[in-house]
């Protein structure tokens, strides 16, 4: 044995990246199909994408039992159960988004969009990567993958409102990416590394000025992505302008992805600075819940109302995160699961009501809905009650969890602000229920039946109810997933 190379190369273990590889692979397959088939069939696109998602899900499940290194590819990607759980959640949301989108384009009369399914897969690959990113550079890469795909998805229909939304999203998103990148640079300056494990070790007792700056810049970047106030400005316009299934998909998935990454950054990389970031998270949470809840009251459009409510929900998740360590992680992850179910469900129901395209999304269009579309009205009521945090829905248990985590960490005032804000929020959710059930429809609209959409929405509806009554179903899983390895 002679001439052994002395250059040390990292050991390459690609298994923990299999979900992303499948997603990207099938996205490319979808693009090739679109390019080379004379007339592409939407159903084929849907099938390709769903198979990709399913394979990614299967490999994610397999990774639950991963017993290799905690991080692979030279510490760039974490292979822990937290990443697995977040990925599975994202993949379910992606599948729902694909199904809803398929029906949306069939009904809206827009020309078949061959790009839709591949773009969703690309965006999802970025999201699944960011929740597993153990290196800030990888996190940034993943952030860009998901953001760029979402900008295009937002403007996909080419409607005026969609174009405007995409432009706005792109400009502000690019801006926030810059903050994020600066933050990484500062972190590197403070510690000499961008990997979150070594970062955590280096921050143990070193000079902290630069690290605090890094933290602040990263917080701004994440603030944009999770749409926490005061970095929420883009949210209402984008959620309103984007095609409804895209809104359903991104409102849930982006939040899961960005919070997944944020949890890793706060509770691993910057855990030594918990005393410094907790007040920041506190303030972001308080401002978000109050602004989101109050501004939602004034909205006349359901999508905008739900957008503001998503800002408030970002605040509730941040409320849980003020508790450092596993208490905070557990409560926020549960909230993310519940939020994903109810928000996909709510936007999906909006789609069900509008019938085709972006029609009938004003709140006044919901007047007397219980008569014209009883199923849509019932679904909307369930999701709205959950968003308002009223038992026996997932939203209630989720709120109890985050408030209890915050109080356990000593932030009872934040919990009080949050609970009072949810009362204000309940007002506008309830207003919609009032319109649907207590008033007669103004005009009789031909409500095209959409049995498929209804069937798809059964999944988030079941999740919303089941997690409200038997939260124990996933609490054990979350418990095991709330240990971050590095």
């Amino acid at each position: 044995v002679i001439g052994q190379a002395t250059l040390s190369t990292p050991e390459l273990a690609f298994e923990p990246l299999l979900p992303e590889l499948f997603l990207v692979g099938f996205a490319i397959a979808g693009l090739l199909y679109e390019a080379f088939s004379r007339r592409s069939e939407p159903v084929v696109h849907l099938s390709i994408a769903l198979v990709g998602v399913a394979l990614a899900g299967a490999t994610s499940l397999w990774l639950w039992g991963w017993d290799g290194e905690a991080t692979v590819l030279a510490g760039a990607v974490a292979a822990d159960r937290f990443a697995v759980l977040a990925r599975l959640l994202l993949l379910v949301v992606a599948a729902l988004g694909l199904l809803l989108g398929h029906q949306y384009f069939q009904r809206s009369g827009d020309e078949p969009q061959g790009e839709f399914a591949p773009l969703v897969l690309f965006a999802t690959s970025g999201m699944t990567l960011i929740v597993a990113a153990a290196d800030l550079i990888v996190a940034f890469l993943a952030l860009e993958i998901l953001s760029l795909s979402l900008y295009v998805l937002t403007g996909l229909t080419g409607r005026r409102a969609a174009n405007e939304a995409a432009m706005k999203y792109f400009l502000l998103g690019a801006f926030s990416s810059a903050f994020f990148l600066y933050g990484i640079a500062m972190a590197y300056g403070a510690t000499g590394t961008t990997k979150i494990g070594p970062l955590a070790l280096a921050l143990g007792g070193s000079e902290q000025g630069l690290a605090l700056l890094a933290l602040a810049l990263l917080a701004i970047g994440f603030g944009f992505k999770v749409s926490a106030a005061p970095f929420h400005m883009w949210t209402p316009d984008v959620y309103h302008g984007a095609p409804t299934p895209v809104t359903a998909y991104m409102s849930a998935a982006t939040k899961v992805a960005a919070f997944g990454a944020l949890i890793r950054v706060l509770d691993v990389a910057f855990q030594a600075l918990a005393w410094d970031w907790a007040p920041v998270v506190w303030a972001l949470a308080a401002v978000s819940v109050v602004l989101g809840s109050v501004l939602a009251i004034a909205q006349a459009n359901v999508k905008r109302m739900l957008a503001y409510s998503s800002i408030a929900h970002a605040g509730f998740i941040l409320t849980g995160l003020t508790a450092p360590g596993s208490d905070g992680i557990r409560s926020s992850v549960f909230y993310l699961v519940a939020y994903a179910a109810m928000t996909v469900g709510a936007f999906g129901t909006v789609m069900l009501v509008s019938g085709r395209g972006e029609e009938r999304t004003r709140i006044s269009d919901y007047t007397g809905l219980a008569r014209t579309q009883p199923l849509a009205a019932a679904l909307m009521t369930l999701f709205l009650l959950s968003l308002a945090g009223i038992p026996p829905t997932a939203g209630f248990i989720a709120k109890v969890n985050v408030f209890s985590a915050a109080i356990g960490a000593g932030y009872w005032l934040l919990a009080l602000i949050g609970v009072l804000a949810s009362v204000a929020a309940a007002f506008f959710y309830i207003r919609v229920i009032v319109l649907m059930y207590m008033q007669e429809p103004v005009e009789v609209v031909e409500a095209g039946s959409a049995p498929l959409t209804g069937a798809v929405l059964a999944i988030p509806a079941a999740a919303t109810l089941l997690l409200g009554v038997f939260p124990g179903l996933i609490v054990g899983v979350i418990e095991e997933a709330s240990v971050l390895r590095w």
Binding site: V400, V423, R431, V434, M438, G472
Partner: protein, 515 residues
Amino acid sequence: VNRLLTLTTFLPLLGALMVLAGGRGLKDEGARWVALGASLATFIVSLVVLGRFDPAAEQPFQMVELARWVESIGLSYAVGVDGVSIWMVLLTTFLFPVSILASWTIVKDVRRFMAAMLVLETAVIGTFLALDLLLFFLFFEALLVPMYLLIGGWGGRRRVYAAVKFFLFTMAGSAFLLVAILFLYAQQPDGERLFGYGAMIDAAAGLPVATARWLFLAFFVAFAVKVPLVPLHTWLPDAHTEAPTAGSVLLAGVLLKVGTYGLIRFNLMLFPEASRYFATFVGILAVIGIIYGGVNALIQTDIKRLVAYSSVSHLGFVVLGLFAFTQQGVTGGVMQMVNHGLATGALFLLVGMVYERTHTRELDAMGGLSSVMPWLMGAFLFTAFASAGLPGLNGFVGEFLVIVGTFAVNSWFGALAATGVVLAAIYLLWSYQRMAFGPVREEHRLLPDVSVREVAVLAPVLVLLLVFGVAPSLLADRIEPATSAVIAHVDPEQETTDVGQAALAASAAEGLSPP
């Protein structure tokens, strides 16, 4: 295994699911009968609970069921009855079939209406039986939605306004309750935190005095909105007036009791020191409520609003009795809870029946009705006597005990509260006079008297008004062990006294004054 309480709680929900599952195939008539059947079955089960209840039992709660629900956060499904909650449950299970039968005339969305009623019944029974604070809160919040839908969906002209007001007031109150519950929860050592009643009492006992007083206030606000105590009562006249008859009956008969029940179950038991500290303050609010409610009832021209304000006054008695910490006061308060539920429930039923005939609630637009429908007006007079506290009918004993029990500790409160009884006699009889006597209006001349169905609605309630008036010990025997346990906990200095031993009760005066 003993699953009697679970059966009582969820039987109505099962009925609601049946009504909904019936779909359009289930005709309106069918939905009514299913709902009535489910609520009657629940009532029968609750009678079995009453039969099995042992007033002399050692343990504080009976027929306890305990199951872990969400282990990771310490939420358990724990239910049980004591001498207070058993009457609340029976009051509930009794008034629901009555209200459902009284709602036979509702024709709009019958299936949805009946389902909402039955869901409401489950939620209310759950709040009375829960022995886990988060479980209690869950039911407490859950009952808002069906009640809200009942008011907003089937109410009067300003129903949406009233429903939203009701919802927001109650939910704002419960916001403080949730934070306080979670705060208590966080006081327990990490890893073994529980929401269970006993664990929470222990956690509360270890609190610093000032903290406990703040938490007392947080609980108090939530329940005071529900009771309601002045100045948190403004939702009540609107909600009562706009609600459909069944909604008013249940609101007055059952839902307000959730508030007073919460005070006795949680405020007094979790925060004994703070309860003593705030007793005078609460007493003042209660007395203001008694007089304010009475005076307001006096000047109303809308009969439904009048009865609503009388509730404010009567519930003031309950709270005054509870915070006297004497055997008479607390027992009287609990008895008054039951009796007010029956008497005011009956009043709302009667007002509803009159309205269905005359289509007006304005007293000035009525008159001479006793010559047109003597039976209905007779029932009204009988109920008004009961509500005003005429001896021999059920209202008397509770109010009397409250006043005696309060006199023993604070003669001012006792004297002022007694004026409430006088006011009640005036506004009830005066309103009766305006309705029943005088010239008959032309359009009212041919109105029918009570129908068979209405007799079936009213008779059971009126019989109970008499029974509990003649034999108050039926109530008191079961209530007393529970209330003396509460008093012993709040005010350990005080010897538990028997009803009537005013001399001993006087010693409580020292215990009541704030530290």
